[in-house]
């Protein structure tokens, strides 16, 4: 059986007034059925755009998928018609977003919003769909679901709204759930609740999760495999344990050592110098080279490829992995 999702050198560019933004620039990774993949990176690294590209929801203009391919269950998403895409969205692939405050339509009740997808994809009548919505709310642990189903988003707390979002996403039993920073806007204690819920539901429903976040703690807790993105590219891919034990890419390394730790003593924090590069005006060669402490000459000139270093670990770095000089040459 084919992989659930496979990205092959996906390129999504934005053509803005300031210039072309290479938001996603040749990203490749895959997700197995039932697996949780963490995608980690800082703001603007292209992780959200990658997710939107998978759903073909990149706002056009100014954005456009200009290259590569996305295979879902072996079929190219990019070659599907818009109608076929609509069948896929919310049904096979669902998505939840960072801001539970703004991601729900304020003028419709929670029930209506959940039921809408059920009606559409499962062909249920409105009343049946609403009943199913109640079940879903129960599933995501919302107390008093019969009442909540008739309430508007503003009547719920942030945590509750995120639960509604999850209920909506899961209502059609998707094979893949993409969660874009699902807990970033929530308080710590609520974040714990939501993460716990997602773990439970995954166990129960068995879908694959693509978890996008900048929080390495969340990744460590939730994911089995991790993809690290920087400036529109995947710089490292590894299993969680391996990544945290020994990060290969200098960026991953810097990231891990620059966060304050609760559970271990720390002196002065490590710092990744400089700024995230301007997406319109990326540095030549390796995009991380201006901030990298290990820069060599080649880093300034040529972009490294993502190379398999064995054991499911891939890295794109001239210094750490030789950057597949041979292959490129």
């Amino acid at each position: 059986m084919s992989r659930l999702l496979e990205l092959d050198k996906l390129k999504t560019y934005f053509y803005t007034e300031e210039g072309v933004v290479l938001a996603v620039d040749g990203v490749s990774f895959h997700i197995e059925r039932g697996e949780t993949l963490g995608v980690v990176g800082e703001s603007g690294c292209g992780k959200s755009v990658t997710a939107l590209s998978i759903l073909r929801l990149v706002p056009n203009p100014p954005g456009r998928i200009i290259g590569g391919d996305i295979l879902f269950e072996g079929q190219s998403i990019l070659r599907k018609t818009e109608a076929q895409m609509r069948d896929l969205r919310g049904n096979d692939i669902a998505m939840i977003f960072q801001e539970p405050m703004t991601s729900l339509n304020p003028v419709y009740t929670c029930g209506e919003q959940i039921a809408e997808a059920i009606e559409l994809h499962q062909g249920l009548r409105k009343r049946e769909a609403l009943e199913k919505a109640v079940d879903m709310l129960k599933l995501v642990g919302i107390p008093g679901p019969e009442r909540r189903v008739r309430e508007y988003p503003h009547q719920l707390s942030g945590g509750m709204r995120q639960r509604v979002m999850i209920a909506m996403a899961l209502s059609c039993n998707p094979k893949l759930l993409m969660a874009d920073e699902p807990t970033t806007a929530l308080d710590v204690t609520i974040q714990a609740q939501i993460l716990e819920l997602m773990k439970d539901l995954k166990q129960e429903l068995g879908m694959a999760i693509m978890l996008i976040t900048h929080d390495l703690g969340v990744i460590a807790e939730m994911a089995k495999r991790v993809v690290v993105m920087y400036a529109g590219k995947v710089v490292e891919e590894a299993d969680v344990a391996g990544l945290f034990r020994k990060p290969l890419h200098p960026y991953t390394e810097g990231l891990l050592s620059s966060i304050p730790r609760l559970n271990r003593p720390q002196g002065r924090l490590h710092v990744i110098t400089g700024q995230v590069p301007n997406p319109v005006n990326l540095p030549p060669g390796c995009r991380f080279h201006p901030r990298c402490p290990y820069t060599e000459d080649i880093c300034l000139q040529r972009e490294p490829e993502l190379v398999d270093t064995g054991g499911g670990r891939l890295v794109s770095c001239w210094v750490r992995a030789g950057g597949s000089r041979a292959e490129v040459a």
Binding site: V188, A192, E221, L255, I259, L269
Partner: protein, 342 residues
């Protein structure tokens, strides 16, 4: 006034001599109106009896979830908001007794760095104007000398002094936060209130700013009140940490001590809720049920009793006192003793 008045066990009536700032039983209630003729229907008790002190040169961290009143506390200390009750002593003088002019002069001593590096800088002003305005207002420097001082400040916070004529949007988030720090530093203040200064920044930038703040503290002997929701960050930068819940400080102590040995069940739960970037670490989590209650109508007795797994009958009726359990470790919990025994 509903509920029992909280006992204050921080100190006596007189301000302590050895501290820079002392906050005593501070309250800030926001009136809520409604009904036919805008009747007062209640108060949002954003800050509901908070007491603590900050010693010169130290960093006091204040953590809590959104809506717990930590930001409001910072604003009231700066007198950007007028308090409902209580006092804030700065170098022994209650700032709420000061008149406009005295307050204006006092503002040179205390400054603030904001959370959002985007909205805290006036988009229509140049960096030079933003940083230099305070100098001009307080008659410290004008014209050439102002510009010279601004360039110095930019250099201090790690920005290119050449960029003095640029506008905020020409900078990245981290650089903007540096501008905010420069603005706070302009008048050589003694106290800087850092209101979530790194929470809007990327991980890789966060550490830059934290290090900058530490360096500046060492260089200029600054005192920080560091407000944040990220416990890791607070623990890293603070000497002492206070934990707030629903307008009250529930626990306060030395950073290492508090994180190693949390006494309040809320602190405990908070600590265990944080996902740690360490996949091999296995631990038991305490998941708090439900949401934080509304500050408009906080629970009776101990505000935390609705979500506390140790709750006792007394917790529903009586607001626990905030007491020092030794070594400047304060906690407000009825069950502290009981649990210690367990």
């Amino acid at each position: 006034m509903p509920g029992k008045r909280r006992q204050v066990a921080v100190s006596g009536e007189e301000p302590r001599g050895d501290v820079l700032v002392e906050v005593k039983d501070l309250k800030k209630w926001f009136p809520v109106t409604g009904g036919v003729f805008g009747r007062l229907v209640g108060h949002v008790k954003a800050v509901d009896g908070v007491s603590f002190y900050i010693k010169p040169g130290e960093t006091l961290g204040l953590v809590g979830e959104s809506g717990c009143g930590k930001t409001t506390t910072g604003r009231v200390i700066l007198r950007l908001l007028e308090p409902t009750e209580g006092a804030v002593y700065f170098e022994g003088a209650n700032i709420f007794d000061l008149n406009r002019e005295q307050m204006r002069r006092l503002r040179r001593q205390m400054q603030i760095v904001f959370q959002d590096p985007y909205s805290s800088l006036n988009p229509r002003m140049t960096v030079g104007d933003i940083v230099g305005e305070a100098l001009e207002i307080h008659g410290v420097a004008r014209g050439r000398s102002k510009e010279k001082r601004v360039r110095e400040l930019l250099d201090v916070v790690g920005l290119n002094p050449q960029h003095i004529r640029r506008y905020p949007h020409e900078f990245s988030g981290g650089q903007r936060q540096r501008i905010g720090v420069a603005r706070a530093l302009a008048l050589n203040p003694k106290l800087i209130i850092c209101d979530e200064p790194v929470s809007a920044l990327d991980v890789s930038i966060q550490s830059q700013i934290l290090n900058l703040l530490e360096d500046l503290q060492a260089e200029f002997n600054l005192t920080y009140l560091f407000i944040a929701h990220n416990l890791s960050v607070v623990k890293h930068i603070s000497d002492r940490v206070g934990v707030m819940y629903l307008g009250q400080v529930v626990e306060l102590g030395g950073a290492e001590e508090l994180f190693a040995n949390p006494l309040h069940p809320y602190t405990e739960a908070l600590l265990s809720a944080i996902p740690l970037p360490d996949p091999e670490l296995k631990r038991d989590r305490i998941i708090l049920e439900g949401d934080v209650p509304s500050p408009l109508n906080p629970p009776s007795g101990c505000h935390f009793h609705t979500r506390c797994r140790w709750v006792q009958p007394i917790c529903r009726d009586e607001n626990p006192p905030f007491v020092d359990v030794g070594d400047e470790h304060f906690v407000a919990c009825h069950l502290r003793k009981t649990r210690e025994k367990q």
